[in-house]
Structures are given as C-alpha cells and as structure tokens.
Amino acid sequence: MRALVWNGVNDLRVEQVDEPSILNAHDAIVKVSLTTSCGSDLHLLGGYVPAMRSGDVLGHEFVGEVVEVGSAVRQHAVGDRVVVNSFIACGRCWYCRQEQYSLCDNGNPNAGIAEGLWGQSPGGCFGYSHVVGGWAGSHAEYIRVPYADVGMFTVPEAVSDERALFASDAAPTGWMGADLGGVGPGSTVAVWGAGGVGQMAARASLLLGAERVVVIDRLPERLAQVRDVIGAETMDYTQVEVLPELRELTGGRGPDVCIEAVGMEAHRDRPDFGYDMVKQQLRLQTDRPTAVREAVTAARKGGSVFVLGVFGGVVDKFPLGALMNKGLTMRGAQMHGQRYTPMLLERMAAGELTTEHLATHVMPLDEAPRGYEMFKEKEDGCVRAVFRP
C-alpha cells in the first residue's frame, strides 16, 4: 500500500509499504478515508522529537472504515465508519479507569525509552516516534488499531467524514484543555494559538459556559476563522501588546484559564523568542516555551494554565516565581480522547461543533509531501492539509 514516510528532517516521501495485519485479538484494521496533518507533526519534520526513524509512517488523526477485526473486538464490525483517537490506550489499567487515557500503562511497548526521558511513560500514539511506541501512522491506505474497542468510535450518520475527522484528536484535545483547565460558567479564557487545537479549545470553552474567550495568534486567516466560525474574540500579537491587552480585557484581573495550544516551536515578536531560538538550535534546550511563559504571566491570581502544545524535554527561563506567588494551577497532558469523543460526536451531529473549516486543503495522499510544505509555511492560508489515501 502507499504511505507517507519520514525519511529524515524535512524529507517526506510517499512510498510502498507492507499492509498491516491483525497481531492482537483486540486489534482492528481500518481503511483510511481521511487523515490530517497536525501542528505537532511539524516537530517531527523539524527533527525536534527524538527517536524518529527513517521509514516511519506519519499521521495520527483520521477516519475510515473497518475492514477486519480481531477475535476479541466486541463493539465494532466490518463496515463500520469510525473515527479513531490518536492515543492508544488499553481501557483496563488504573489510568484508563480514571479516564486519563493518554497515560495508559499498556499502550506503549517502548515505555523504557519514555521513562528515560520523563521518568514515567505515557500511552502509545500513532505515527509519533518510537518514544511512544513506534506505531505506524494513518497517512496510509490502511492502519492497524490496537485496543479497537477502546479508541475507535462509530461515526453517526449525520456527521460527515470531514467533520468527524477532527473528533480524532483536535477536538478532544481542545475540549480537554478547557475541561481540565477548569473552564465553567462565567470564566474568562485566553487561548494561545489559533490552529486546529486552539480553535477547538476556544469552542469548548464557549460550550462549557465561558463568558469571554480570546484567541491569540498572528495569522489573519486563522484569526478570521476564530471570529467567524468559533465565535470567540481574537488578538493579533503583532498588532498589540498581549499582557496589557489581556489585563484591560479582564478588568485588571487576568484570564481565569490560560490554554497554551502552540507547543515547542512557538513564534513571537519578543526578545525571548530569539533567545529560545538560539538555545534550541544549539540544542541547549529542546523546546521554545515562549507562549507558556506568557500564559503563566498573564493568568489571574489563583487561575490555571493548561499546556496542550507538545513539548519534549527541558526549557529555560520558566517563570516559576509567578507560578508559585500567584498560586496558579498548572496542568498539561496528551489527549484523553476516549473520554470526550463520544460526546463530541453527539455535539457534531447536533451542529454545536463544526470543524470542517479546518480542512482548508484536501488532496490525494500522493500530494502529502507538498501538503506538509504548505502547512508548515502557512501557504495559501493553510490551516490543515488533509489527505485522501
């Protein structure tokens, strides 16, 4: 079959690879209908995530049709139209029982690598390096889905593939940031990053009852989507000073909840961006935490900061004093999608949550290398490049 393969830093190619097969009784094989690029993939392209290997198949956010199931699969059958969560979770360990699916004890057979980096291992993830299992990704004609009854969900008839696609990762990730960040009725929320995840976090905040939600970015086409589709306010950091603007917007308090949806390759027009860039390129730090720093500084006293953007290692000049002295709660997580996706599909069916606007560029899988180039360089207003295998 054809698949998009990582061949090295910024070197993607469509190659012929072997088709997957059922290896465990809880597996399913899915024929991929749509699979999308994600901002976190750019960290893989750029060589910022360790343990990528030439030959790895990328992609972790997808919809498709079940073509084969293992003997222990009970919830699905051949022919089901399904959306699959990016994180692989067993559904049986203590973390899964707490609905913290991305922390699954059993989904990552390469736990030893992750423990070396972080002390403990999260679950596995499709197409996202050997640190989280080395699982083949979804930018392919077929994909093997371990623990299919846990991470795979039948798409309601009323929901199109284009909408359901983002119930795989972007929508549950964004919802998790708002939910676990503590957004509720009356909250004021600031979201850094107007990509797919940031937009979904903003929409989730509104649906959870937030009174004001503002999304911060520099790209006009994405900020326009936030205003026109999501229904949140926007702030262009190239035009205004973010911290004083947020203070003014919140009556001098600062946002109750700050959600960071940018990750390790943040851009910014501030001196600390240059500092971070130099240190990252010299490999003196692994990530650029520019947006995280600002979120911590912006949050109101006693507020919360949720880190949704992907980070891999260590950062410098972290405002720990602000965290401590302002009494902040700071959290982060990979996505606990299995906790949210069924509810999100219902909201999608009801029209409360629309996502197809994120798929600005849909193209055949054969054009995926070009799609990623457009996505990376934000050409032609690309928010997400989506591929049809």
Partner: protein, 159 residues
C-alpha cells in the same frame, strides 16, 4: 599574553579543577550507595491478588522464572489493585540461569517479565508491535541508535 589574560586563564583552570573534583566526589558517593531497594522492582496491576497469582502462583512469565526470581504481592493503596514486587534471587547462580535462559541482563529480564505479566492480567494479551508497515530504513548511526533503543525498550527504563 598580558597579566589579566593569565589571571582569567588561571581562574578558568581553577573552576574546571573544582568542577572535576566535585564530580569525582559525587561519583564516589554514588558508588558507595546500595543497589536500588536490594534489587526489587515492582509494578502495580489493577487486579486482585488472586488474578495476579491464581492459586498462589504468579502467572506467566513468572511461572517459568520461579526458581530464580523471588516475588511478593502487596495491596496497592487507594484501590489501585495489587503491587507485584520481584527480584532476582541474590547469588550468582540465579543471574547466570537468567542470562542463559533469556540471554538478557537480569534487570532487563525482570522488567520485561513485570511488564508482560501486567499486560496479560490487565488486558489478556501482550501487545505486539511487529511487523508494522514501514518504509525504507536507511542505515545511519542515528537510525541504529533508535533501533537499538527500541529493541531494549521493553526491558529498559526507570522501572
């Protein structure tokens, strides 16, 4: 070379010598420490003691290691299930048998066994990774490091 340059070089050498001495002292202190928990390693399994050790015998793969590995079960606090603690029996023979049987470092073998048992009890099977769809694997130094890390991963880590 003027006096101030010489002074700077002298100060730099002094700092380097101090750092080296401090590092050596830390290394000596670490070398004197006991092995971690006398070689015990553990996992917490969301299951009852009877599920972990039916009839009092810890299940596969520990049933194959009974002669060389010592185990004990403890209830995990907060309804988290059962803690399984295991270690290679002290003494050279057990380690030698493990190396012969499993071809692995005893610590790695123990980690593999603990992870495998946890998967078996909690999910009913051991999750398989290979074969998987993959493109051309170029032979590079970085690639060899990743391949090696993955081969060792199930038996490696902080466990």
């Amino acid at each position: 070379m003027n006096k101030s340059t010489l002074a700077l070089l002298g100060a730099g050498a002094g700092v380097a010598a101090s750092a080296a001495a401090a590092a050596a002292a830390v290394a000596r202190r670490h070398a004197r420490k006991q092995p971690v928990a006398d070689g015990w390693k553990s996992v917490t399994i969301l299951a009852t003691p009877d599920d972990v050790a039916p009839g009092g015998v810890v299940g596969t793969p520990f049933d194959r290691l009974a002669e060389v590995v010592e185990t004990r079960l403890l209830p995990a606090p907060g309804d988290r299930g059962t803690e399984l603690h295991a270690r290679v029996l002290p003494g050279g023979r057990a380690e030698a048998v493990l190396r012969e049987q499993l071809g692995a470092d005893p610590d790695d073998a123990l980690r593999r066994a603990l992870r495998e048992l946890k998967m078996r009890v909690e999910t009913g099977e051991v999750l398989q990774q290979l074969p998987r769809p993959e493109g051309r694997r170029k032979h590079t130094v970085a690639g060899a490091l990743v391949d090696g890390a993955e081969r060792r991963a199930f038996g490696a880590g902080a466990l």
